[in-house]
Each structure stands twice: as structure tokens, then as C-alpha cells.
Symmetry: D2
Subunit: 370 residues, 4 copies
């Protein structure tokens, strides 16, 4: 057992700041290096968080012997290359969602990590959000009987990172950005049974001038154990982030509202600093959240991943899970494109998920259902 | 203009009692007769509500000259015959949901009413529920921008009328029983644009020993104006009736909870008489509703229908609307059966909606998409 | 039994408009006349509501033979004269709250009505608000065990009628304006046991430049049956009217939120017509109420009073009740002035309640506790 | 700076278990010893938490050189002796609420700690509860304007420790047990201005057969800056712990519900392990809390206190604050006994607070208002 786990961050944007804030609160972690290609960004980030090393090329970070764990927070289209190279450098990996752009990339990433015998950990923070952890305990304890319907939704008014508007780099719209949370949430909540089918309804309702990606989506999944799961995702919902889940069982039902339920209800004639992610104005009524990264589970997640490295434990969310999510995302876009339920397992050579919905965006694709 | 509108009830079950209670509160209505086939039931009902005439054969009721308006609250499979005969007798009609068992019946009913030149009114009470009426005003006023997504759901733990377990008499499960509310709600809320397509996910998760009908359903509708609508229906949700709607627009969002939101939050160690429809126990925490039939809009609905007859006005929900709902219900079961999105207009010779999902229940059916 | 009860309104301000709207919905009432001293106001009001007669002198209204019932909605300092004259004219009376300015006036009013043998009805609408009626039923049914603590509060950002800022005409601040609701609510909810004592905390926190009256108040009442009651009143609460009650018993507890609980939760980037009384802006989050006068019980109240006149029944809130409230109001200001609990019965020759708190406002007063 | 702060617990009951659980999550703390007089209890506790030393006499614990910090969780009447002895032994102190039984004891404790130059820290966890910390930030930021009214209440169905029923050992009822939280909450929230006066309403409504202490209390405090504060406390509220606060300001208002607001809303036909403190049954509807000690702030509190010792920092809640709370508690019972507002500063030689309310419980007391 090592004394501290030394961590390098790849990326310096919105999510990397959350990674740094979370790692600062993990007793066993030491933030050692950060890499970001734009000149000056890594340096400023390192200064803000008191990080010893900063680089513009993440390969320099990977070359540092002392780094044990790399946390990847780059744009989606760079995830594959970065993961493979980190695995080759023998570093443990925490990868931000969504995994990558193609199913072939997903295979390549999992293979590279397996070959390098490093831990490939997938940063699905909903599996660590305290309220959702309690929700899973309720279900597991039998309090709700056997599950019938499970729901999760995330809604706000548009992505944090501008590259998400560009489907060439993001691979898709709100389904890629937030639907991936719901998919892993369902798998985790139900104990990861196989997924039988996916149906998706997508539309670009409000942001059509900015993106070819969908800004609203509904996903229906059928699990092998008979449970139906419904995900709702939106980039057009004003008034602050909405993150909710429901579990309907044969003997009961439970509703968990991650943010609104936890908030202070505030009316301010003057407004104030910050209510909640994407809140817009704080004048008038608002729902003031607190300890936001804790409520989302980011701190607990990093704590868990750092401990996995330190104590050589099995992570509860891995690259294999990330790959399973990718498969569903591809199937979801395929469903939106074909207007039918898509059965799993599903394979596709598509260059990015959204090509399966908007065929004109990609090359001609022949989807394959095994 | 007549002084009072004289009303005859066909049926004496759960919903007919609501009709009677509501009509009692309509100044312009006079409850004049009731018909119910089981010996003694109509008599007891007439006594309870102070109704002058009672019959075991509803045709006797139709033969009464003084009756202006007939309110039909019979089991689904009797709706068609009863409606046609009432029209032929020259009575105005209020028909309880769902309309009937086949699309051919729907045609026949609308035709008979048109020919008889009587008002054919469809008792979709959600179009009268005060909270939903206000929700529609919000949307119509532009407060929420243009609509993107609209949701409505009803959930409780099983049908009031036992005949609903028998799909031969009901035509289907929870989609027939409660999904029909959501469909008309969507149409009404959006100003009745055409429906482009329907996708349905159905399952029998808990009540399989009692019924071949689905006890849970998710419906996704696409409207011609680009709006997506999602209905959730359940017969397996414990803890009291749940009736909610959401409107998500480009400039705002509104959430309306018909029952839980209105309730008194009560904790009782001893329990008490009644909390809300299907509440189960009232020991411990419960959500105590009040003026329940008013909150649902039943009184306002009857008031409106009676006024339509009295003043010869155009009802806001008619048999044509009922027929549009039937079309969606058939398309929904077709979608559940074929696992694909079903485009509208949709025609089908099926003997009842559920035959399109569980083919073994019906004769071989060749669905037709025009 | 008369066919219709003919009603005359004295006053044409905020509350008289509510009276008119409510009476319009009472089948047995006929709005026949309105009186208001400012030239043109009664005429405009009569036109708006389709009222046959309008006067600038309410004595002309009282002289109309056909009037059965007078509803008084004038400023507080005119209540006594108006009530006495209406009684002398043999009219039944509905009096808006609060009753009057002095305890001597209260005696005089009750005596005049008793002598004239007319019904003296007191418009405490909370006794008719459907949610509170259900709350009382819960308590009466034993669901909560025996009551221990009962609470009611009303809060908004300042009075509707400008004369309320002037304590010479209103008699006091928010305690007179809204505390009177709580006092009668407590009495009614508990079955009108005697009140043993009153303690009051008052302050002028925000509106000191506009009024010498208190803009915030807390009242603690002890009832003869051992129950404690707490009233909270405010004229400084932004974000819309707040009207809540709680009943804490030995076997349970119940929470009723009259407005916020009933509302649609709305987020609007643009704003819209109306959310709720005193809402301020509707941009951003707001709580959209609907059927507001019904939720408050105004319609039900008028219906009841009209029926009392029509059928010669005993009203559930009378001038005697109004007088009991006055006694508590005087005791409350006495408590705020002496910083001690004040025992009931309490008599005082004060010219208006607030003189007992801010002695410099009145002449020297010697309070009397019998 | 020391590597770890070594902590000894005095007590092994309900609250000491919370102390242990919290300290386990403080990276800088090491649980080293526990003392409890009942044979076997300290040993079992030490075993459960992996604590090296256990004693039946806490003086043996104080004699351990390696102990830096003592956390006192004994019954109230032992707080003084234990604190004085710990100070004399040169240990830093964390003292559980309420401070002690008499104002003379309070003086003695503060003097002993000052003389010993050790840190005397007062375990008011509400000052660390994340939601309330955010509430204070809102107020401090000016979002609500200047404060007008501040409220806090705690309600459940009776004390955890049986000795609390015996006022000889506890000093009083629910005001001593839970009112002390509200008092320090108000002081902390407002920046600790002087308290001008106290008024208290107390009653023994339900548990009269078990205790002479009050089981319900309302406190009204006036602060020197003009703010009114209202505390509500109850030992008779069924359905789970209720812990809420409100801040009403001239420019806004904020509502924080510590438990109910954070909870998952659960309906279970079968019941389950645990919903929330004092929940009673979990069958039917319940409000399922999670990370309860974190939501209350216990972990954060211990973290802060340990850091104060480790880094020699000034604690944010001290023995001086505890003493200020004691003064208000005595004034509150004096108010309940005299039925008047009691001005501060207030001194009293009473042997315990409740003697000032129920004079027959103590010797003849002459209260002193300076």
C-alpha cells in the first residue's frame, strides 16, 4: 500500500476543475500534474490548485514516472487516443463520460487497458451520488418489491463545453452528453442485467441554429429481467439543472430529486451569487443548492477511485461499463434513425453515434444486429 | 332556453356515482332517471340521490320523453350500442371514456350522433381540471415559449371496475383505462394539431395472474407541430393516485401535480377515513386530498355539458375527439405489438385494441397504415 | 323560502370586487345594488358586474326595500356606523374583517343586530377554505389525537388598501389586517373554547416610513383546553402571499399550505399575467395559483351566508365571533405594549387597538383585566 | 503542527456513537480512548470502533498523556465536573449540548478552561450543517436584505436518552434538549449580536406521566439589532425528526428543511430498515434520509474542532457561546414561570433551569435581572 496516490489531470476545462476540487478533498490523493494544449491554461490551472507540474502536451505528463493515476477530462473525440496512450504508459485511468465516438474505439480502449493490466475506471458520478446510493439500497433491501419501471432524467439549458455543439467532435447531442448518465445509472441500479432493447425519440427543438445534435431525447430501455427504464434528457430546460430518479416496484415507489429537493427555497429581490448549475437569474424565486459536488457524488467517486489504486481494489464502475453504455448510445441513435425498437447486442461501424440518426452527417452505414 | 336540463344516467357504478355527485352541483341540471341492469342497483342509486325514475333496461330510460341528456357510464364494450340507441332516441349524450372497442364502432357512433343532430360530448375531465386549465392558459399566453415536450401520467394500483381485468370487455389494460386521458389531454393542451406517430412500450409486470392486459405503459406521441408527448400509465403504483402533467417550452417549464401538490400532508398514528383515491392505508404519512371531484374537474365538466345542452353551445370535447383518442389507442397497441413507431392516420379492423399487441388474443389481423 | 336573496354591496374596493365575483357564483344570490362614496366608482362597479342600482350614499342603498342582505366592505373605521344603520334598516349583514376599532363599538354592533333580529354574519373566509375545512375534519375525526399546538400564518408585502397604512383609520397594522384571520381560524378549528391568554411580539421593521403600525407580529394564544396557538403575520414578505396552517396533535400532525401547495410550479423567461396575490414579478420561478377565490373559500362563504338568509339558518361565523376576535386583538396590542402575557376576558376603553402598544398614539389609557 | 490529534471520548451513548462515527471520517483525528462508567460498555464501544484504550472512570482517560482532545457526551448534570477536570488535565475540550445545569457552573467551566489555556469548543452542529451554512451565506451576502424574522425548530417524539425525562438530571425538558440548538443557531446566523429579551410558552401536553419537564415550547427572542427570532421545540411530534429554519429579510426570504427536503419520498408496503431519526414505522409513505450525520454537520464539526487543535486555530463555537445559550435557557424558563418577557442580561442562582418555571421543583429562588 502506497502512502499517497499521485494524480495527473488531462484537461483543464469545466469538468477538470470539478476533478481537481474533488481530489483536493481525497485524503489519499495528491494532485501532481495537469496537461492542457492551449498555451497558459495548464499553468494557470496548476497555480490555482497548487499543482507541481503543468504541460501543454499530455504525453509529457504520461512520461512522468511518479504519476500513478491519470484523470481524463478532454473533449470526447480525444478520449480514445488519450486512454490508449495512458494505458501504454502504465498509468491507471479515470475516464470522464461519454467514453468515445465509435464502438471500435471502445473495443480498442478496453483492450489496451486489459493488456496493460491497469485499472480502467469510468467516472459515472451518479453511482456515487449519496441520494441515489440510498435509493439503490432501498431497492436492494426489498422495500419496493421487484422493480417494474425505473426513470432518470437530467435537464438544463445547454452544454458547458462549446465543443458539444459540434457533433463531429462530440458524436451526438444531449443523449451523448447526459443520456450516458442515465444508461449507466439504470445498469448500476438494477445490478447490471443485460439490456434487451432500446427505443429513442430525438428532436432538435430550440438550438437548431447552433447544432445538428438533438437537444431533447427520450430513451426507453428493456432489461433482460423485464424492467422498463425511461431516460429523459434536455438541453432546453430553463431554470436550473434538474436531476431526478424514480424507482417503481411491485411493493412500493421512491422518488429522488437530487437538486431541487435538497435546495433552500429562496426569494431574493436583489439576486445573489449562485443558486445551482445553469440556474440563470437568481432574482425572484430560486432553489439554492449547496455542497454541489458532494451532492453529485464527485468527491466520493474520486475517493473511491483513488482508494482502488492505493489498495488495489476492483472499481465499481469500469471501462467495460463505459463500453456497455456506448453500445446503448449507438442503439439509441439507430432507433431514432429507424423509428423502431433496436435489439441488443448491437454493433455498428458508424464513425459517431449521431450518424445513425442523421445519415447525411456520416458516410453510408450498414448497422448490424447480432 | 330551457329552465333545467333533465338528465338520465346509464350505469350505477363508481363513475356513475361521480356523475351524480357532480350533476347535483350543477344549478341547471336535474337528475331525472337512472338505469342499471342488476336488479335493485338502480333503485338503490335512485333512492340515494333522490332520482325520480329507475330502470333495469336503459331503453326504458331512453323512452322517457322528458330526458334531454343521457350520461353513459357503462362498461366499455356496451358504449357503442348505448350511444347509438341514445342518439336514435334524440337524446344528447355524454360518454365516459374510453369510447369503445373498435375503430368501426367509433365511426358508427359518430355517424349516428351526427345523423341524429344531437350533441355527442366526451367526458374527458382533465380538460376541466382547474389546475390543468390554468396550465393551458400559461402555455397559451406564451409564458413558456413554444412547447417542446409535454407529459401527463396517471398511476394507481388497479382499476376500480372489475370488468377492466377482462380484456374482452375492456379492450385493453391501463392504456385503455388511463392512457386515453393523456391522449386527449395532449390534444387539448396543444390546440388539437394532428398526431404524426405513436410508439408504445407495454408490459404486464405485477397483475399477470388477474389480467392479460398491460399494467404499465409508456406512450410517445409526435405531433404535427413538432411537439413530443410522453404518457406514463400504471396499475401497479401503490400509495395513492398520482396525476401529474408537465409542459416544457423554449422559454420556460411548468409542473402541475393534481393531487399530491394540493394535499394536506398528514401523519396519523391511528389512521382516518379517507386520504385520496387508492390511498391504501391512512396510518403514518399520507397526502389528504379534499374536494376531490372538483379538483379533477368533474363538476365543471358536467356544468359545461349541461350548459351546452341548455344554451345550444358547442362542447369543448366531443365524440370526434373521443374517436381521435381511439385511433391513438389502437396505434399504441399496434406499436407495442410491432415494436416500432406507428404513423397516423391509422386504421385497423381489430376487434379490440389489445389484439394488436397480443395477437393470440384476437383473430389474425392485418393492420393498415394509410 | 324566497326565490333569490337580493344583495347590496357597501364598498367598491379590492374586497368588494371579491364579494361581487363570489356572489356571481352563488345560484341563490342576486346582486342588486352597490354604494361607494367616490363619485363614479359605484357606477363603474355596477356596470362591470351588471348591478341594477348604484349610489354614492350607502343610506340610499339601505332604503331600498328589495335588499335582503348587505355586504360591508368599507374601511375599518366605518364598519360600526354602517352595521348599526343596516341593522336598523332591517337588513341582514355580512361584515368584512376586522370588525371595528373599539371594544365599545363591537358591543354596540352586536346589540343593534340582536335588537333588529337580523343575521349578523362575519366574513372569515378561512372557515370556508376547502383545504382548511378538510384540515378541521381531520382533527375532528380524531386522526391527529388531541390537539397540542395549532398554527396559522399569512404573509405578503403590504396591505391592498392604502388606508391600512394610517392607523387612525385601520386601528393597527398587520395584526389588525391579517392576525384577525388567525384568531378566528383558531377558535373555529378548536370548536371555540375560551381563550385564556394572549402574548404578542410586534415590530415595524421595513415600512417605518409609511406607517406607525406594526409590519410583523407573532401572537401566542392559550386556550382553555390547554392548546397553544401561534399566529405569524407579516407585511414584509416578498415573493407572493403565504397562507399556511399546521395542527399538531398527540397522535399525528397535519400541514396545509393554501397557495404554494396548490400551485403550478412555473419557470418563465418572459413572465406572464398573474401568479398569485402579491407575487411581484412572474419572470423566473413562480408559483402559479388558480381559482384563487375558490381556494380561499370566498365563494363558499357567500354561498353559505346567502343560504342562511334564504333558508333562515344559523351562520357558522357571526358578529359574536367577530367580537371575540376584537377582544383578542386588543389583548394582543396590550401585550405588545406591556411585554407580558395578557389574560382574558380583557376589556379596554382604547380608541383603537394600536394605542395599547404605542401609547403616544392614543390618549392615556387605563387597561382593565377583569 | 502535529501529525494526528488523539481524541478521547467521555460517554458511550447515542451521541458518543455519533461522535465516534464522525471522528472516523476526520483524516486528522485518531480515536484513542473511551470512558463510560457502566461495566462493559466502554469495552464494547472500544471494540466496535477499534479504540485502543477503554476505562470505566473518565479520570483514567484524562490521565493518559497522549490524549490531546476530550469529547464529552455524558448526561447534562455531569458536564461541569467533567469539563473542569479535563481542563485541569490540560486537554482541549469538545462539549456536547446543553452546557450544564446552572449559570454558576457555566462560569466555573469557562473560567477553568481559560485558566488552563485550552480550547473549549461547543458542539453546536447546526453551525456546521451544510444547508444551514449555505443559508447563512445567503443572508450574509445581502440576498435577503436585512433580517427581520428568523425561525428554527426541532421536533420529534421524545428524547433519545432516558435521563432526559428526569429534570433533576437534565435541568429541563425539550427547551433544554433542543431549544439550545435554536438559540445558538440564531446567534451564529446573525453574527452574535446581544440578545435583548426572551419570552417563552411551555407546556406538558402528552408526556405528563413520564416527566415534569415541558414537552412543547415556543421561544421568542429579541436581538439588539431589532431582529425577532422564534424557536419551536417539541417532544410530541410523530412521523420523524423535523428540523427547519427560515430567514425573512427586507429583500427576500429563504426556507431550509434539513431532513424532509433532502429525503427520498418513499412508499413501501413492506417497510424497510430506517427512514430518519424517530421515524416510527416505514410502512406506507416515509421520507428516507441518507448520510444523516453529514447532513446534520456532525462530521464537519468534528473536522473543524480537530483542525482547531491541530493547527491552533480559533473555533467558531466556544464555551463562551455555550454560556450565552445557558443564559437564554434560564431566561426562557423564567419567562414561562412569570408569563412575561424577560430582559437580558439575566442572572439566576437557580439549581437548574426548570426550577424557574415550576417553582415547586426547586428551592425558593429570587431571580435577578441586571
Amino acid at each position: 500500500m502506497k502512502d499517497k496516490v499521485r494524480v495527473g489531470l488531462v484537461g483543464s476545462g469545466f469538468i477538470s476543475a470539478i476533478h481537481a476540487d474533488s481530489l483536493k478533498r481525497c485524503a489519499a490523493a495528491e494532485l501532481t500534474a495537469v496537461a492542457s494544449p492551449t498555451k497558459g491554461k495548464a499553468e494557470a490551472f496548476a497555480q490555482k490548485y497548487g499543482i507541481a507540474h503543468h504541460f501543454t502536451d499530455y504525453r509529457q505528463l504520461l512520461a512522468l514516472d511518479e504519476i500513478d493515476l491519470v484523470v481524463i477530462g478532454t473533449p470526447n473525440y480525444l478520449h480514445c487516443e488519450c486512454t490508449v496512450k495512458a494505458a501504454e504508459a502504465g498509468k491507471h485511468i479515470v475516464l470522464e463520460k461519454p467514453m468515445c465516438l465509435t464502438l471500435a474505439e471502445a473495443d480498442q480502449m478496453v483492450d489496451a487497458c486489459r493488456k496493460a493490466k491497469i485499472k480502467f475506471m469510468y467516472a459515472e458520478e451518479l453511482c456515487f451520488a449519496p441520494k441515489y446510493v440510498r435509493l439503490k439500497q432501498l431497492l436492494d433491501s426489498g422495500a419496493l418489491g421487484h422493480p417494474v419501471l425505473i426513470k432518470q432524467s437530467e435537464k438544463h439549458d445547454g452544454p458547458h463545453a462549446p465543443h458539444f455543439w459540434d457533433v463531429e467532435r462530440s458524436g451526438g447531442g444531449v443523449t451523448m452528453d447526459m443520456g450516458c448518465h442515465a444508461i449507466e445509472f439504470f445498469r448500476w441500479m438494477l445490478g447490471r442485467p443485460a439490456i434487451k432493447s432500446v427505443y429513442a425519440q430525438m428532436g432538435t427543438h430550440v438550438h437548431g441554429s447552433k447544432t445538428r445534435g438533438e437537444d431533447n431525447a427520450i430513451l426507453i430501455l428493456e432489461f433482460a429481467n423485464g424492467v422498463t427504464a425511461v431516460a429523459e434528457e434536455s438541453w432546453t430546460k430553463l431554470g436550473g439543472m434538474d436531476d431526478r430518479a424514480e424507482v417503481h416496484g411491485s411493493k412500493g415507489v421512491a422518488y429522488a430529486d437530487l437538486l431541487h429537493g435538497n435546495a433552500i427555497e429562496t426569494y431574493s429581490a436583489t439576486g445573489y451569487d449562485y443558486a445551482v448549475e445553469k440556474a440563470g437569474s437568481t432574482v425572484g424565486w430560486s432553489f439554492t443548492i449547496y455542497e454541489e459536488i458532494w451532492n453529485y457524488g464527485f468527491v466520493q467517486e474520486m475517493d473511491h477511485f483513488v482508494e482502488c489504486v492505493k489498495e488495489d481494489k476492483q472499481p465499481i464502475v469500469t471501462g467495460e461499463d463505459a463500453k456497455a453504455v456506448m453500445e446503448v448510445l449507438f442503439a439509441a441513435y439507430e432507433s431514432a434513425g429507424t423509428e423502431r425498437k433496436v435489439m441488443l447486442p448491437f454493433r455498428s461501424p458508424a464513425a459517431k453515434p449521431i450518424d445513425l440518426w442523421k445519415h447525411e452527417l456520416g458516410r453510408a452505414i450498414k448497422p448490424t444486429t447480432t
